[in-house]
Each structure stands twice: as C-alpha cells, then as structure tokens.
Amino acid sequence: MTVSSPVDDRRERFTAIYEANYHRILGYALRRTSRDNTADVVAETFLVAWRRLDDVPEGDLARLWLYATARRILANHRRAEQRRERLASAAIALADAAAAPALVDVEPNRAAVAFERLSSGERKLLALVAWEELGAAELATVLGCSRGAARIRLHRARRRFAQELARLGKPLKRRGIAGHVTDAGTPAGLLELEDT
C-alpha cells in the first residue's frame, strides 16, 4: 500500500491549482502590466499561494483568491514604480517623452477612448468583468467588498462608460484580429490599469 505524505499531498494540490490557473493569472498580468513585469507578478502570485496553500480555497474560489492576490501584488509593483518615478530627474522625464511612441498616426478606437476616460477604478471593474469574466459576486470576492457594493460600483462604471461612448458619438470601429485591439492600436497607457 502506498501512503502519500503530507508534503506530497501539498505539492499535488498546489500543482493542480497552478496548472488550472497559470494561464489565467498570466493573462491577468499581461493585460495590466508590461511584459517585463508580468513574469514577476505571476511568480509572486503563485509563490504566495504555495506559502499560504492552507488559505487558498477549494474549487473555483481558488481562481478568485489568485486574482485577488495578483491584484495586490500588481498594486505593490505600481506603488514601487511610482516611487521610482517620483525619484526620477527631469532629465529622465524629458528623455522618456522624446522616446514615447507617436500616437498621431493611430486612429483612436471609440471604445478604447471611452474606456480611457473612465477612472482607474471604473476601468478596473469593467476589465474584471470583461477580461476575467467575473460576475458581481466574484467581483466582490476579488475586490474585497460586499456584493451589493460591487453591483453598485459596476452599475456606475457601466453607466459612465455608456455616457463616454455616447459623448464620442461616432460609429464604433473594432480593431485588430478577432476583435482584439493590438498594442499598436491602443492609446498609450490605456491598458496599464492602475490597480490599487
């Protein structure tokens, strides 16, 4: 008879969670930060999960737990970046400005522009629903708020998005392959959600 040790059980459970969710956390990070940071966010998220495996809920809730963890890690990265940015000299800022991609040739996507006009919190909510396909209850779990609060915030974000779309007024123009907006067609910083 083979008896598995607690260590084996632990590894087995973690591996199952990892393999079921790796692509989701990878996608979550890719959609919100640079490719350079993505690897760090994914690694840190799963390292936290490994260390706190007893806290990771069973079943599909593990996915939400990982999103919430990734969200905090991403926020920490952003704060660190912001601190570094504050320390940067004016000379560096000028150099960055010179190196910034020219956007004049890019025809703005109406939805992208409307999305960009939302607050970071509103973008974050809509992105979790559209990109991670979360429902209101799942949204509440990831954001750490009540379901009612999540619904209300989501409703407001939807209303604001609709208002911005209406303000832009032109016909919708979808871009990219299979409906995706490519990096080149996305206004700079649009998808860099400030996830705090």
């Binding site: 591996t15 393999e19 790796y22 959609r31 559209a130």
Partner: protein, 353 residues
C-alpha cells in the same frame, strides 16, 4: 446598448485573452517556475499553543508566576522563524484590512438589535484623596497619578461581562461585575490599612439605555482616518503610537463600524510605527487568532490586540505592564484583558443568540 454589448466592447480591448493562453502552464517557462516554487521551503506546521502562562485562567490571578511579556517574546520567536518570517505586523494588518472589506455589514432591521458581548477584567485603582483624613478615596484610572501608585492607593482587577444591544431606536447596556481581586499583597495591605473600604464601589453591576444606532463618525479613507486618529491620540499623556492603536481597538469593538471603516482601521494600524507581530495565538476562549502588540514607553505598558485573520473580527485584547511601571508590579502583570464574541442580530433587547 446592452450590458453584453458593453462587455464585449471592453473585452475586445484586451491585449490577450485567456483562451489564447490555454496550455501555457505546460510551457517550459511555466514548468520551470513550478519546480522552483515547490522547491521552496514548506510552510511551518501550525504554531504551538500559547505558553501556559499566557493562557491564564479567566478569573484574576493576583500575581502571575511567569511574565506574560516574556512568554509572548518566546512565542514571537517561535512563530516568526517559520516561512512566515518575512511577514510583519504591517502585512498581517493589511491582510486583515482586505478581509474586513469583504465582510458583510451587520445591519439590524426594524425591531432587531446587534448583540455584542465581551468578557474580561480591568484594573481599578483607588487613591486616598488625603492620607489620614479618613477619606476612602475614589476609583481612578490607574497610571495618571504622578509618582508611585504604591503609597496611598490599592489596585484591584475587576472582572466584567459587558453586553450591548444596539438598535435603530436605541438599545441597552448591561455590565455585570465579578469579585474584585487584589493584584498584589501590597495592594491588599494598603486596603486593610485604609480601613477596608467597600470594594463594591469599584465593582458595580448596572444596566443603562443606549442611544439609537448611528453611523460611526470615522473616515473610511485610510489617509484621512490616520490623520484623524493621530490628532485624537495626541496630548493624552500616553505614547502616541500606542494610543493610536488603542483608538483603533476602541473603534473595532462594540461599534457598528462598516466594513469599509473596519478596513480603514486595520490599514491605519498597519501604518502605526512600533507595532509588533506577536504571531498566531490562541485566545482565552480557545479561538485561533493573530496578535499584534505595541509598547507604551510613557506608561510602561504593552497592548496586544488579537484578531481573527479569517473574518478580521477583534477577538481579544490585553494590556500588561512593562518594567518600570507606575504600579511597581512585575513586568508582564496583566492589568486589562477581554475577549469579544462575534456580534449577532437578535430580536429584542433582552435576547441572546
């Protein structure tokens, strides 16, 4: 535009979709990461139960044989040497803030009451107003008296059970005191020398009406709340940081703080300097919790708050004296302790869950 259409529009803005990444977990890079992670040290086994001296009998002991502070220090070493070694009080409190934010609000409906129960003990010091004039003295908050409290005063630890029924149109507080106990033989001797004043004066049981439940006037913005508590804590004659943590504890217990306010309170606590992570502990009621503590260097006391990391509920608190305290007690002597039951809704101001 329908919600579905709107969602599709936003979905189209994503750089990449999860469907495009299915199978990435088997990539060489992902498998390498998996190997590295599972090769990391495994988390430690559950922390040992608290030192026996830290789980004192609920009723008062006059002179703890072993200093709680010493026991706590040992415990802290045990807990923080595991893989949670990198965890700090700040991280633990921020985590509690996240949990608090996700908790449902406990809002009483019409005819309902929020029932809150706590059980514990606190010191009451009686000071002779003028030595030798026969005045029996009055109860006073302890360490506010200049100089030593050992000359014309005696201190007792009074056990209390507090029950509150908070309702929309008012409620009720009931406090039941137990038998006071002297904290030291010296306290008893001074009480005898003073003519054995009636100790019931400091251990009265009573019931009182409570005003209607109103929203707590606390900002849910951590920055604003920090400033508010810092201002409130200043000038009270206590250490600023420890007083701020005390105020945080005050707002977490026996109040109707919203989840957002509770989250802000924990966030503020995470920012207070000098807060130590005691670690995972078991409170007097046998509940698992996580404890943080702070020393008040002015009054030479140490405050410990224990909260449930799963719910963020405040489970217990404790105050012990440090070396050089105004009472002259051995370091580690407990002067306040309490445990808090989870609040619950009941249907009348007499009902208990």
């Amino acid at each position: 535009m329908s919600e579905t259409d709107q969602t599709t529009l936003v979905a189209d803005l994503a750089r990449v979709r999860d469907d495009d990444l299915v199978g990435e977990a088997t990539s060489r890079r992902a498998q390498q990461l998996l190997s590295e992670i599972v090769a990391a040290p495994a988390p430690p086994p559950p922390p040992p139960r608290r030192h026996a001296a830290a789980v004192l009998p609920h009723r008062v002991v006059s002179q703890p044989a072993v200093s709680f502070a010493a026991a706590a220090a040992v415990l802290a070493v045990v807990v923080t040497t595991g893989s949670r070694g990198a965890e700090t009080a700040s991280a633990a409190l921020r985590q509690a803030a996240d949990v608090a934010r996700a908790q449902p609000a406990l809002v009483p409906g019409r005819g309902q009451y929020v029932y809150v129960r706590s059980e514990g003990a606190a010191v009451m010091t009686s000071v002779l107003a003028a030595a030798g004039n026969g005045d029996r003295g009055t109860p006073a908050d302890p360490p506010k008296v200049e100089g030593s409290l050992t000359q014309n005063a005696w201190t007792v630890l009074v056990p209390r059970v507090r029950e509150l029924w908070w309702g929309r149109s008012g409620g009720r507080l009931q406090e039941t005191s137990g038998e006071p106990a002297f904290l030291s033989a010296g306290d008893r001797a001074r009480w005898v020398a003073a003519g054995r004043p009636d100790l019931a004066e400091v251990a009265r049981s009573f019931t009182a009406p409570l005003p209607p439940l109103v929203p707590l006037e606390l900002s849910s913005d951590p920055d604003a709340l920090y400033a508010q508590l810092e201002k409130d804590a200043a000038g009270r004659g206590n250490g600023l940081s420890s007083e701020m943590l005390t105020l945080v504890g005050d707002a977490l217990r026996e109040t109707n703080a919203t989840p957002a306010q509770r989250a802000a309170l924990y966030t503020v606590a995470a920012r207070i300097s000098g807060v130590d992570l005691v670690g995972d502990v078991t409170d007097q009621d046998g509940r698992a919790g996580r404890a943080v503590a702070i020393d008040d260097e002015v009054n030479k006391t140490r405050l410990t708050l224990t909260f449930d990391p799963e719910t963020s509920a405040l489970l217990a608190e404790e105050q012990v004296v440090l070396a050089g305290n105004a009472y002259g007690y051995p370091a580690g002597t407990r002067i306040v302790h309490a445990t808090y039951a989870p609040p619950a809704l009941v249907d009348s101001p007499d009902a208990r869950p």
